[in-house]
Structures are given as C-alpha cells and as structure tokens.
C-alpha cells in the first residue's frame, strides 16, 4: 500500500525552494527581508548592539539633536534614544509575535473547522467572522482595551482576537481548495487516517499561504499596538514600546522636535518591510493572488 502513496507525496510542489529563488528575483522583497531581519537583530541583541544603557541618565545632554554620539538624539532625561528604541522594540516585537501566534493558531483552527465540517457549522462560524470584519480595527481595539485592560497579556489576546476572523477566512478558503485535490482523494482511498492526511498533506500545503498572511498580521499588530500605546491605552509605563516612545516624543515635541521623529520612522520602516515581504510571499504562495 505504501508504494502507492509514496509517489503521490513526492509529487507535492516544492514551495520552499521556489520561495528562495523568487526572493532573489524581486529586489524590493529581498531588501525588505534584510531590513526587517536587521531590525529584529538589533532588538533581540539590544544588550550587545545598543551603544548605551536605555536607562543611563545624562543631564548635560537633555533633548540632544541627532549626532554621531547619539544618532537618534536624547530624551527628556538625556537617555540615548537609539538605545531606547532598540530596547523598546522588545516589548513591541514580543507583543506582535505572540499576537501573530494567537491569530494564526486560532484563525487556522476556526477556518479549518469551518471548511472540514461544512454545512451549518461552516455557516455559523463564517457569519460570526463577517460580523467583526466590518468594523474599523482601531475602534474594536479600543473597546476591547476598555473591556480587558492593557496588560501585555491582554494586548496580545486583544490583537490576536482582532486578526483572527480574517485569518479564519483565508484558512477556510485554503483548506477548501486542498480538499478538492487528487492527492487528497488518493490519500483517503489508500486508507490514510485523517490526522495523518492533515499532518502530511493538508498542513504542508496550506501552511505557506498562512505564513504569508502571518507577515501581514505582524505588520498590522505593530501598527495597532503603536496606535493604542500612542493614545495612552496600550503598553503602560514603566514598560516602553515604540508606541510609548513616540507618545513621549509627541508630548515633548516643543522641547525637541527630533524626539518623536525616529521612533515614528522605525515603526514605519518595520511595518513597510513586513508588508512588502507579506505581499511578496502571498504572490508566491497563493495561486489566487498571482
């Protein structure tokens, strides 16, 4: 029996290799990947890379304009802003990463269940998704913050829940098209147990589409977290994120107009690179977008 199943499994398209070759062919996506990797590197290894401690005061250099010593300038206590942006990125990226996990995990289960069960289960699950998809994300985020508070854990949960319905829709569509394929039929006909089909056929084939989506969700998560922190309803002091740094810079705008500029630009660059990467991945992996 296994001799029949083997060639079918090998016939699966090799998407990983295609991804690498396509990345080289599209310079904007390659640049985006490098830029985002650099940001992540600086944030993760802030302890090594950052030129100063994020909390070392220097009262002789308050609100310094950008210079070689302080490329992003200094803040109201003379702390080096470049270092603070690197350390602040830890909070931002941590929240974004876990929010992506929640959104992708929950969304995949939600969408897969709908696609697998069909019928009324599908109908109910998708109508619920539609109901939340209509509202502006930032408004829902504000309401959920009012309901669940803004600790790191609840921010992760809030962002995760916010991006779940759209992910569920994508996961459903992806699985539905997989269930129509010949190799799925073949796998059933040779008596492969459903969990093994899921593991060996369906997940590897829907996975790439979901990963492309994860990149876009991460961008949105950074975006919304920064928005919430900016209006003072996201990450709470003394913790610092890119959004809170920007908020601080904004309230000190008239002391030093350089202060908010760089935290803002870092958010922009991070979101832009993730968006570019996600668009590219979607083009490579999702046949409907090609």
């Amino acid at each position: 029996m296994t001799t029949v199943a083997e060639p079918l499994i090998q016939a699966r398209p090799r998407r990983r290799l295609r991804f690498l070759s396509q990345l080289a062919r599209r310079p904007s996506a390659a640049i985006a990947a490098v830029v985002f990797a650099a940001i992540v590197f600086c944030v993760v290894f802030a302890g090594v890379v950052a030129p100063y401690s994020p909390n070392s005061f220097d009262y002789s250099h308050l609100y310094a304009t950008p210079s070689w010593a302080h490329p992003f300038g200094t803040d109201e206590l003379g702390r080096d802003l470049l270092s603070r942006v690197m350390y602040g990125g830890r909070t931002t990226l941590e929240i974004a990463a876990f929010a992506v996990l929640v959104a992708m995990g929950g969304g995949a289960i939600w969408g897969f269940t709908a696609a697998y069960m069909r019928g009324w289960v599908d109908e109910i699950l998708m109508r619920v998704a539609d109901l939340t998809l209509g509202m502006p994300v930032i408004l829902l985020a504000l309401v959920l913050v009012a309901a669940f508070g803004s600790s790191t854990a609840s921010l992760v949960l809030i962002l995760g829940i916010l991006f779940m319905p759209a992910t569920a829709r994508l996961a459903r569509a992806a699985l539905l098209s997989e269930l129509e394929t010949d190799y799925y039929l073949a796998a059933i006909s040779v008596g492969t147990p459903p969990w093994l089909i899921m593991l060996r056929e369906l997940l590897p084939n829907t996975g790439p589409i979901l990963i492309a989506r994860a990149s876009l969700v991460a961008a949105e998560a950074i975006f919304v977290e920064a928005s919430l922190s900016f209006v003072g309803l996201g990450v709470q002091p003394p913790a610092a994120s890119w959004g809170t740094l920007l908020q601080k810079g904004y309230s000190n705008l008239y002391q030093s107009y350089w202060y908010p500029v760089f935290p803002g630009l870092v958010i922009l660059v991070a979101v832009l690179s993730l968006n570019t990467l996600g668009d590219h991945l979607q083009r490579v992996f999702d046949p409907a977008k090609r």
Binding site: G134, L139, L142, A146, A226, Y254, N275
Partner: protein
C-alpha cells in the same frame, strides 16, 4: 430594482440590529461598576441605599435583556442615554463634537479622492515607468504609515519648523471659515494619506485588469486616442471594484479619525471615544461604537445601491429574477 433595494435595506437593518446586540453585550463585559464612575472613583462609605438609588436611576438594577430593550427603545426615539461620567445626555455630547469630525472627514476625503483618482488615471494614460514607480512607492509607504507618524512629521515641519499652520485645536466653520480651514488642513492631509493609499492600490490594480480586456483593444483599434480609451472605456469599468474600497474606507473614517484627532487635539468624536475608554464611560462608548457600525453599514449599503445604478448587468439580473 425596487426589490433589490428593499432586500439590501432589509439586510442592513438586520445587520445593524445584530451589531447593537453585540456592542451592548461587549459593554457589559467591561469590568468596573459605572456607579463608581458616577460617584467619582470610590464607593467606600457610601450609604448602600443611596447606591441602590443611583443604580435604579441609571437603570442598572434591571436584567440585561431589560436594559437592552430600554436602550434600544431610547435610540429609536433619538435618545442615547446619559454619560455615566459627565451626566450630560450622550446626544448632546455627540452633536457638540460631530462638527469637528465631519469637517475633518469631508476635507480628508476630498483631498484623498482628488489625488488618488486623477493619479491612477494619469498613470494609465501615460504608461510611464517612472510615474508608476512613484505611485507604487506612495501606496506602499501610505499603507505602512500610521496616522500619528505622518501627523507628527507634518506638525514638525509645518507647525514647529516653518510655523505656517496651526497644529492644535479646532475652530468651528460657522464662526471663522478661513481659520477653520487653516486648522483642518494638516489633520485632513494626515487622514487623506490613510484614505488615498488603499483606494489608489485597488484602482490601479483594476485599471491594469481592464486594460487587457478585449473591449479596450477594440476601442484602441477603432482609432480612439489613448486618453479617450482610458476615460471612456477603461476608467468606468475599473471604477466598480474601486467603489467597494471607497465604501469601506468611508465607513472606516471614524477609526482613522480617532488617531488623527488625538494627534492634532481636535475635540471630535475620536477624542470623545478615547476619553470615554479612559473614563470607563460605556454610556458614551456604546453609542459611539454603534454610530461607527451604522456609518459602516450605511456606506456599504450606498455602495451596493450605486452598483445597481452603475452596472447595468446587475440591474438586469435582478430584474430578471423578479419576473
């Protein structure tokens, strides 16, 4: 056509009804007793009977379904209840502040569509690689720029550095039209970037789609000049998918306004919403969220009805069904 309109209006009302239930239930999840808000933060040492009286006055001693029916009944009569924090009727708070938001939203929309539609059309007429790259760059950056980043950059350049334009507050249009427009300019530009980027993206994609249609080739083949082909044949057909996006963007304007108003300290609905979250004032919050949902549902309804007007295929199909 009438049947199409009736069905579409009907689903919108049902959708709004369900949204109101969801919003109301969500508000009841918010921890914290609004009576505490009303009493200024603490209920210690307050006579339980007085507390009971306040609960009764706010209608909080009723069951949740009863409260919902009461709330909905009020809304139908134009009464959104009272703020738990400031005690003002919610309707008053909203009418006081809707002017600042409406002015911002209209100006932003005019600027955004005034840039996006001509830019996408010119890009198609010219077929210039450099101009196209410029548009792609603008779209990508516009989609990735949060309103607070572009807003702060505008404040830094035009407010702090050059000192040309006011960066904070709001002057009502009826009082000082010129001052009001000067004050709305920077916020409107900020919000217009948020609006223009997705519209430009979808419009360009659908223009490219329609370009390869056979009727476009026919139009060019019968000797029309390039701009005639684009304006008469490509643009009208490409407008349909873009219309959906415009509807979504307009429906979501209140969301973009939250951040923009906060950056420019405009006393509009967005800042009211942020304040009501701070104050756990769910009397105001639920009214605002319902308003946002209504705006969204209304704009998608209008778009769907416009489809019926613009797209003869849809009109004919519906008429065919009716027979």
């Amino acid at each position: 056509m009438i049947q199409y309109v009736a069905r579409r209006v009907g689903t919108s009302i049902v959708l709004l009804f369900f949204s109101s239930i969801v919003i109301f239930c969500l508000m009841r999840v918010i921890p914290g007793d609004p009576t505490i808000t009303k009493l200024g933060g603490s209920i210690q040492g307050v006579d339980p009977r007085a507390l009971q009286a306040i609960r009764h006055q706010l209608g909080l001693d009723q069951s949740i379904p009863e409260q919902y029916v009461h709330w909905l009944g009020g809304i139908v009569h134009g009464d959104f209840g009272r703020s738990y924090y400031s005690q003002f009727p919610v309707t008053t708070l909203i009418t006081e502040r809707i002017g600042a938001t409406a002015e911002l939203a209209i100006c932003a929309l005019v600027i955004a569509l005034g840039i996006a539609i001509p830019a996408a059309t010119l890009g198609t007429i010219w077929r210039n690689r450099f101009f196209d790259a410029l548009l792609s760059g603008f779209t990508a950056i516009g989609l990735a720029t949060p309103a607070f980043v572009s807003g702060i950059l505008l404040i830094v350049v035009f407010g702090v550095k050059l000192g040309w334009l006011p960066t904070q507050g709001y002057v009502s249009f009826e009082a000082h039209p010129l001052e009001s427009l000067k004050g709305v300019l920077l916020p409107a530009i900020t919000l217009s970037i948020v609006v223009a980027a997705p519209v430009l993206r979808v419009l360009r994609a659908s223009l490219i789609d329609v370009e390869s249609a056979s009727y476009t080739r026919t139009a060019a083949g019968k000797g029309l000049v390039r701009w005639q082909v684009v304006l008469r044949h490509v643009l009208p057909n490409a407008a349909i998918p873009a219309l959906t996006t415009i509807g979504i963007v307009i429906g979501g304007l209140l969301g973009g306004a939250v951040i923009t108003e906060y950056v420019f300290a405009r006393p509009g609905l967005g800042t009211l919403m942020v304040d009501s979250v701070y104050q756990r004032d769910y009397g105001v919050l639920q009214a605002l969220v319902l308003l946002a949902a209504a705006a969204f549902i209304l704009s998608s309804l209008v778009v769907d009805l416009l489809y019926g007007v613009i797209d003869p295929r849809l009109r004919l199909r519906v008429r065919g069904e009716a027979r």
